[in-house]
Symmetry: C2
Subunit: 510 residues, 2 copies
């Protein structure tokens, strides 16, 4: 039965795949982003912000999921009928920015950007439709030294965040090598582009699907748990075998030798697979250069290794690709092991600016998945809790002038002892003193300030230490109890308010 | 003539009303937001983040421009045909959040939030379709002490940002008073709601249109410069005169008296205009309470005053409303005076949570227009430039192993003297030494590090101070020139790299 006089009320809920972020997570994220920013700045990158909304054609369609019916992007028409989209990453807007401002930029152009991106994807557990990325890119540098530097940046960032050596690895590969493998088995040329893309995306799922799933996707296709069928790349068994053979090539090349002589030998297996493919040989040479540069600069195999199964799902990569994983055994709250996936990823994309200008502009970059990285740090116990103490709450007696309480708060917020402001507030609700103290507890207040008529008449305030007070019930010894009780609640002259409150706060500093 | 073989290239441009933000503005904004955050934290507010996208019905339609054909909001359908919108402010999402989480929140609930909002409006000069707001709200407090506190917060924030006394004013009014005036002239009741809204929006344009424009909007209507016609509220001349009479009432009530006795007298003109309207008398009483509390806490008339023309355009306000303006004479680059508009605005909105739950939840808040405030600070010379020194650039000779240069950079980024990292990068482009030095100049580098074959053979590096070097040409005296030249470029043993670079950096610290 619906009452027609009842107004229709909207339901207070969020669309699937979106979520609110709590104070604790915001503060932890801010601290983490501050550390990342410092490292990125120390590398000479400069900040840039681009808007959330761009012309759809300027962003292009470069999502791994573009072969799904819904193309992964939130789009809508502007008043003048032009299509607009919410950015789905920070790389496509960077390409637009560089193309529009090329003449005025220093070259190479090195920028970092942090901000939310949106994906119109089927939401699932841990899969959000809005999430934050933190990117660094070098545009206008064709040298693989730029790619190697981004691997160093990823390593230094994880170091700075307290992830220990051995708890992470940066895995490196080169799209050109995969191209070479595919060329060697007869899948080169424009006509096979769609097939190559299918192979690429199959490999990108290696971690999740294993060799069997990937084999199926190389062949006729694969049905997933939900019953959805993905058509395969339709390779011949012989072709499939060659690619799978290549995928076996994981090695920590950084450990292969203490000098230049070691590198070539380490990559020899890959060299024989790509055969005479020029692209393949080129790609391997680039990896050898990166390996040498990383090693000689001081990065070690436990930080950075080479892995043929790393291809990254994005179509636009044209050279080295990299991803960082947390390798320490990570367990969820129930002790189950968690595979977190990559926390940093990136690669070289020499064609993105060319889309606009027709001129090749080499570019390479990395992207940090901010909330995934924060989650990983939490699981590793590297979460930096930067939550400040709750506010000092000044309780309010309804029979006293409210201005008296506001003045006490004012003195705490503007202390005259030259120290920093004390976080404080006057209770603004309508509850009695008991409810007010409960409120203070809920806010994590270290103490409350009490001034009823009696105290006012004596020119005093009472300070009640809530944290110490909460421990009183567990004290058995009477003298001890009385001593602690006196510390937990005491009166001081109103003029000593700031000093007394600071005393209580310093008892409970982290 | 179009060449059919030529691929169609998207144009690298942004939709109107959107813009990129430069490194300098990002840094200035970050610094400003940091200061605001500190003040908000000192008041006991806690951070919250909500997503950019919400259900359209949950946000509701509460924009001043909702009477325009395009309703001011970017909206689109989700896969399941439900309407989604980009948030147009941070208040509507807060109401949704509070309604959804009411049971678990401390009451009052005090939160701050900073983030971008989007308006699908006709863009114009200085009018953006994406901009950042920084809000603080107190939900669950019906006392005007909560409103007064937000005025204090606005004043303290502007103080903390370096805006001097007399350079800003926080103007306060109460919607109930305007309601009272309208009731007194026979415009009370549900039947006149649309008319009242028109009057409200006309008054909100008082600053821009002056008395003549507002009169026209009270009457038949008004044609603006672009030829667009806005239909008026259709008041009778007598009604119009009464409202205009009320609008004359600007006074700095804080200066009206040093004690409680002064307040009532100051508001007597308003009292006679609202006549017997209960809402009007209530509203004036609330303003008197706020005035008393602000005064007794120590805020003064040059900070906070009362102004009948302040109504704020948003329909949902139900009580006190406030806005902060920078009052110092502000001039643009050509010396023309600028009217900046309000940099902080807000008010009480007791009905927003009720939309969802049917239960009244009192709430009040303020919103800072971040880029407008930053612009104002710049014009007042209060802009805090927090741009770090440009990176030290290590130049690269193509005939030397690149790893040597990367190692020098590594030492600067990871200094072994226990000091902070030195911002540094290896030149990653393909230019010769001259082009590399130009790049360093463009980046604002204080110095470059040079190590050709000769220096390497001697185990040395050259440090070239670009800032000092740029001053050499103006030196007439030969000895002075040679002395400065020696300081501007010098060789040190490679082992002294960090010390030597720090020496140059400290010459140019701000």
């Amino acid at each position: 039965m619906t009452n027609k006089d009842e107004p229709v009320r909207p339901e207070a809920r969020l669309p699937k795949g979106f979520s609110d972020i709590s104070a604790g997570e915001i503060r932890a994220t801010e601290t983490m982003l501050g550390t990342i920013r410092q490292v990125f700045e120390s590398y000479g990158f400069e900040p840039l912000d681009t808007p959330a909304i761009e012309f759809s054609d300027a962003l292009g369609k470069f999502l791994p999921d573009q072969d799904r019916p819904n193309e992964g992007v939130f789009s809508f028409k502007d008043d003048d009928d032009q299509w607009l989209s919410l950015r789905y990453d920070l790389t496509a807007p960077l390409a637009r920015y560089v193309a529009a401002n090329y003449q005025n930029l220093p070259k190479p152009f090195r920028r970092y950007q942090a901000g939310p991106v949106w994906r119109n994807e089927k939401p699932g557990p841990g899969r959000f439709r809005q999430f934050t990325q933190f990117d660094a890119d070098t545009v206008g540098a064709s040298s693989v030294a730029a790619d190697a530097e981004l691997c160093m940046l990823a390593a230094d960032t994880l170091d700075a965040l307290g992830v220990e050596r051995g708890q992470y690895v940066i895995k490196v590969n080169n799209r050109k090598v995969l191209d070479g493998v595919l060329e060697a088995i007869g899948l080169g040329g424009e006509a096979n582009a769609a097939k190559r893309l299918k192979v690429l995306r199959a490999i990108d799922k290696f971690d999740r699907l294993g060799i069997e799933g990937v084999s199926a996707l190389f062949g006729k296709g694969r049905k997933d748990e939900s019953g959805d069928y993905t058509k395969g790349a339709d390779l011949t068994p012989a072709q499939s075998k060659e690619v799978l053979n290549y995928l076996g090539g994981k090695f920590a090349v950084m450990g292969a030798g203490e000098g230049a002589s070691g590198w070539n030998a380490s990559f020899s297996a890959w060299k024989s697979i790509v055969g005479e493919s020029e692209s393949g040989q080129d790609g391997i040479e680039e990896l050898i250069q990166m390996a040498r540069l990383l090693w000689e600069t001081g990065y070690r195999y436990e930080q950075i290794s080479f892995d043929s199964s790393v291809v990254r799902g994005l179509e636009y990569y044209t050279g080295p690709v990299f991803e960082a994983e947390l390798t320490a055994p990570i367990k969820d709250e129930r002790g189950q092991p968690i595979r977190l996936g990559s926390v940093v990823s990136g690669g070289r994309y020499d064609g993105l600016v060319e889309r606009f200008t027709g001129e090749k502009v080499p570019a390479t970059g990395i992207s940090i998945g901010v909330s995934r990285l924060l989650f990983g740090l939490q699981l590793l116990g590297k979460y930096k809790d930067s939550t400040p103490q709750g506010p000092v709450v000044v309780l309010v007696f309804q029979d006293q002038p409210i201005a008296n309480y506001q003045k006490l708060v004012y003195r705490l917020r503007h202390p005259d002892d030259g120290g920093p402001p004390i976080r404080a507030e006057m209770y603004l609700g309508s509850g009695k003193i008991g409810a007010q103290t409960k409120y203070a507890d809920k806010r994590g207040s270290p103490c409350v300030v009490i001034q009823g008529g009696d105290e006012k008449a004596k020119g005093q305030v009472q300070i009640k230490d809530l944290i110490l007070g909460a421990t009183l019930t567990s004290i058995k010894d009477r003298d001890e109890y009385l001593k602690k009780q006196a510390e937990a609640q005491f009166a001081v002259p109103e003029s000593d308010l700031v000093e007394a409150v600071r005393g209580v706060l310093s008892r409970h500093k982290a």
